[in-house]
């Protein structure tokens, strides 16, 4: 196992621990600009820094798959758009994720889907940022699962905001450095509005 890197870095967990899948709304994930890796090892995980103050190597999201598109000739891959109450996630699966690609290819739009995947930040030639999620798995789910996810994502967002306000967020320093202009109130409002859209 890699607990790699220079000795000055704090060692992450000994033994394998799978990175948890963070619950993030589309509107927050879209704002990610900073990506980092802890340790120099080839297998060290890459993290996207969430504006609410948590590192994130994997996400779990549930929303409506509204569109999917097959692209490429030699290297086939699928792109899709998954919509939640706050915006759109861009998801993709290529030939390196054959199982995920087959799963995505089979789904007819629109459908509620649950996606587990890894976020990545890209910069387009004109300088715009794009955050996309490389799918590990995608399954069709029901509305109740979607509603449960909205609650779950709202709770996780509020937890992160509380930790950030209390100064206990593990990556608080990085947040100050990389997202100096962000207003946490925006994300609280986002969580509230998402919850308000859930009809029980």
């Amino acid at each position: 196992m890699s607990n790699g890197g220079t000795p000055s870095l704090p060692k992450r967990d000994v033994g394998f621990e799978r990175e948890p899948a963070r619950r993030v709304f589309a509107a927050e994930l879209r704002e990610c600009r900073y990506q980092f890796r802890e340790g120099d090892d080839e297998k060290s995980p890459t993290f996207v820094l969430l504006p609410t103050g948590e590192r994130c190597n994997r996400v779990f999201l549930v929303g409506t798959l509204t569109e999917k598109q097959r692209q490429g000739d030699q290297n086939i891959f699928y792109r899709g758009r998954v919509v939640d109450p706050t915006g759109t996630f861009f998801v993709m699966a290529g030939s390196y994720q054959p199982e995920a690609m087959q799963q995505l290819a089979k789904i007819d739009t629109p459908a509620f889907v649950a996606v587990v995947g890894k976020p990545n930040i890209y910069q387009t030639p004109d300088g715009a940022y794009l955050v996309s999620v490389r799918i590990e798995s995608i399954t069709v789910v029901d509305r109740e699962t979607r509603d449960l996810w909205v609650l779950d994502a709202a709770r996780a967002t509020l937890d992160r905001l509380d930790a950030l306000a209390a100064g206990t967020a593990p990556d608080a320093a990085r947040i100050k450095e990389h997202y100096p202009a962000l207003d946490p109130a925006v994300f609280r409002k986002m969580a509230y509005e998402s919850l308000a859209q859930v009809k029980i």
Binding site: P20, A21, E144, Y192
Partner: protein, 416 residues
Amino acid sequence: MDFSQTAERISLKIKQKGQSVDSKKIEAKLRRLVEEFGVQPAEAERSVTNELAKEFNLTGIGTMGGGGGGGAGTKEDRSIADIFPGEWVTIEGKVVSILSPPSPAIAQSGIIADATGAIRFVAWAKANAPKMTDGAWYRIESAVVDEFKGVANLKIHSGTAIKPIEEDRALIPSMVRIGELKPGIASVRAKVVQEWETTHERMLQSGILGDESGTVKFVIWKEAGKEKLAIGAVYTIFYAQVDEFNGRLSLNLSTASYIRDEGDIVVSGGDTEIRGTIVHIAPGSGLIKRCPVEGCNRALSRQNYCAVHEIQPKFVYDLRIKGWLDNGKKTYNMLLQRDVVESLTGMTLDAAKELAENNPLGIDEVFLRMRDAVLGRYVICRGREIDNRLLVRSCERLKMETGEHAALLNRAGGVP
């Protein structure tokens, strides 16, 4: 290794004789013998007991030098709960269970009980002792208490006198809570919380019993007259044997009698509850084949190959799900067994077999359907957590709760 219990036992024995010893000192002596000199723990206990007995000039505890030489006090009646290995004792009790002797050197073995507790007894063939009858009362004079597999054992030897007691006495067994079980013999009132696949052809049933104080594994071996316990039912179990293996206790009901009880028990303890989503289903989930060799039960490869017993064409089908359960903060390796898989996916083992036989994809089809049925879903899993691995006892889909929704809205702050 922990010597505090053994030390406590020795110190209690000394105390009963009117002397006192620091049990820390006893513990140090034991530790030194076992850790520095590689003495067997039982031998160390005996040796320390003898040493102290000599020091205080006590009789009646420890193993005496001469055979048959019960010291003062062996004629004095003792309560079964208060006797310890290394003693010569006289007890009066009721035979509550007779076991089939495991070896020809043993004439009879079983369990004898009084109102304070119960102990296993062994009558050696050499002792020529009269056979005792199940359900009858006896006075046993000058028997030796020794230890077998960490459990006190009453040894009936040639110097032991067994006298039947004619009068019929009432015996009310003392019940023990599962959280307070110790190796030996115990009576419990418990609910059957889980039943496991048997791993041995001589095994009738195994699973988990629980009460308000905790849970414990149980096993019943196949024997005439033994019946299975019904899952979810409450039983009063008299005189089960409590064994210890790798620091975990288990109840062997082969010695026990059990009767089904009215009522219900809210089982607690040793339990973890995790709400999260199933984020991955690992290969090897779904319909699997197991090695039929008794006591093996390993999952076979697709070519019916067992890592130990090679090719096994007469495999046994089973269902399981291995995967990752994720609550957004931590990820747990989870393992669902057949009954949990059936209730979560709605697919029974028979349905899965049929599907696999009639589908061009075979068992892959079962895997795919189960994956599509559970992956990405919110569930509540209850079970035992061992090193990040969750052995799931029950797994249900999570339901929307209005209260939670309202609480979160409040927490988000009511900003319009």
